[in-house]
């Protein structure tokens, strides 16, 4: 912990090497570090794979930097369920002459944590904020409909979708769409984008009092990005999702305790060869967590 505090002090003074090492230390520490509460600005960006989340974030960074903000991005990409390794390439899409002292991009493997969002993300955001980063963006791995852990960790959530993402019934299913503060349909330069956006608008309209915006953008052509940023800046930090946030945070900490349990591989092997039942496995894990006093 002392090295985390030392690195934090150095990072606060503007030392980028220390900032980078600080993030590693927080990611790897046994205990989840706590930072004093401070107002921080975080945005989660989520959506299906390939809709252009990274490219869009790259363009948003450009606008923020030109208006004087310091932008830090935590870009999550999936870890291999087989080897545990990862190929982290979101930053390839965030490219341009706006990159420099006012931008920071860190690629983070999702690890084998269910939901793909480690409980370490929150303290990393707090540390970034303490070091003067005024816009902190977390890009999730490409998601489906039911991954909403990100919503518990950020103050505002942008859902990015693309053209031709299915008919209107898709937009009416329960899930992440309900939690997004702003919805963007990217690739507006391609056919099908405006009907995608219209489908989502109709779906939101069914509730009557839902005035969330659905914004058409083309990240690659840099169209509509300014409007999207205004909408994001205008949305208030969430207050009514406290219970959801706590629930998801508790589950995510619980998941990571489970996944990091030293006995888990052995238990999985035993389940595979049929020497223990699922019920027994849960019993063993529960006991081992008790014994470790977590």
């Amino acid at each position: 912990m002392s090295s985390i505090n030392e690195l934090l002090e150095l990072a606060k003074s503007g030392d980028r090497r220390s900032l980078s090492r600080l993030i590693t230390e927080i990611s790897e520490s046994d205990e989840i570090p706590q930072f004093p509460p401070k107002s921080i600005w975080t945005l989660g960006v989520t959506g299906p794979p390939g809709v252009g989340k990274s490219t869009l974030i790259g363009k948003m960074m450009k606008y923020w930097v030109s208006s004087g903000e310091s932008v830090a991005v935590l870009a999550l990409d999936p870890s291999s369920p087989i080897s545990g390794g990862s190929f982290l390439a979101d930053r390839v899409r965030m490219d341009g002459d706006y990159l420099g002292k006012k931008t920071f991009i860190r690629s983070i493997p999702s690890g084998n944590i269910p939901g793909g969002i480690s409980p370490r993300i929150r303290p990393i955001c707090q540390a970034l904020s303490a070091c003067g980063w005024t816009r902190i963006v977390i890009e999730t791995v490409g998601t489906g409909q039911s991954e909403f852990r990100i919503a518990s960790l950020v103050d505002r959530l942008l859902l990015v979708d693309g053209p031709d993402r299915g008919d209107i019934i898709q937009a009416e299913k329960a899930g992440i769409l309900e939690l997004a503060d702003v919805i963007a349909v990217n690739k507006s330069d391609l056919p099908g984008a405006s009907s995608s956006a219209q489908n989502i608008r109709i779906s939101l309209g069914l509730t009557g009092n839902d005035n969330r915006e659905v914004i058409l953008v083309s990240a690659i052509k840099d169209e509509g990005v300014e409007g999207l940023i205004s909408a994001i800046e205008a949305c208030q930090s969430k207050t009514n999702t406290m219970e959801l946030a706590m629930r998801e945070r508790l589950l995510s900490e619980w998941d990571s305790i489970l996944v990091l349990n030293p006995e888990i591989d052995e238990i999985i092997a035993k389940l595979c060869d049929g020497s223990i039942t699922m019920g027994k496995a849960i019993q063993i894990l529960g006991k081992s967590i008790d014994n470790r006093g977590v």
Partner: protein
């Protein structure tokens, strides 16, 4: 390990870099790819921000003799001397000495089995544990290839 795979300079071919990246991923490493046409300073910035332990540089343009020493110099100048650097691509044998002198610890040419890169990283791990000079800022003398 966190490993950055970089493509410096004006070189638009990254199949080799991607093959290495895949092999490293499949061996359980976290691989960060820079994308094409990065300047030495951009690459050093990425190694710093990503807090990588290893940097693999792939170049096929023939500019390895000026770009790679520049990257190594900048790493040392940015308190990143503990980063281990290896290179790959089209690099004639006559240039190996120059690269070794810059602090590059291994150069992998065409036809290298990917398992050899993994063997190199195993050796790097052992050397680091024994505190033998391995990083780009450490004493010269040890090279894999």
């Amino acid at each position: 390990m966190r490993i950055v795979i970089a493509k410096p300079g004006l070189d638009g071919h990254d199949r080799g870099a991607k093959i290495i990246a895949r092999a490293l991923r499949d061996a359980g490493h976290d691989v960060i790819y820079t994308g094409l046409r990065k300047t030495p300073s951009e690459i050093v910035g990425i190694v710093n921000d990503e807090d990588a332990e290893i940097l693999g540089i792939s170049t096929l343009s023939g500019a390895h003799d000026s770009l790679i020493p520049k990257i190594c110099d900048e790493l040392r100048g940015s308190s990143l001397g503990n980063v281990v650097v290896f290179a790959g691509g089209i690099i004639p044998e006559r240039d190996l000495k120059l690269l070794h002198k810059s602090g590059v610890r291994a150069v992998f040419g065409p036809g290298t089995p990917t398992s050899e890169v993994l063997d190199f990283l195993d050796e790097v791990t052992i050397r680091k544990q024994n505190e033998n000079p391995t990083g780009v800022g450490d004493d010269l003398g040890w090279n894999w290839t």
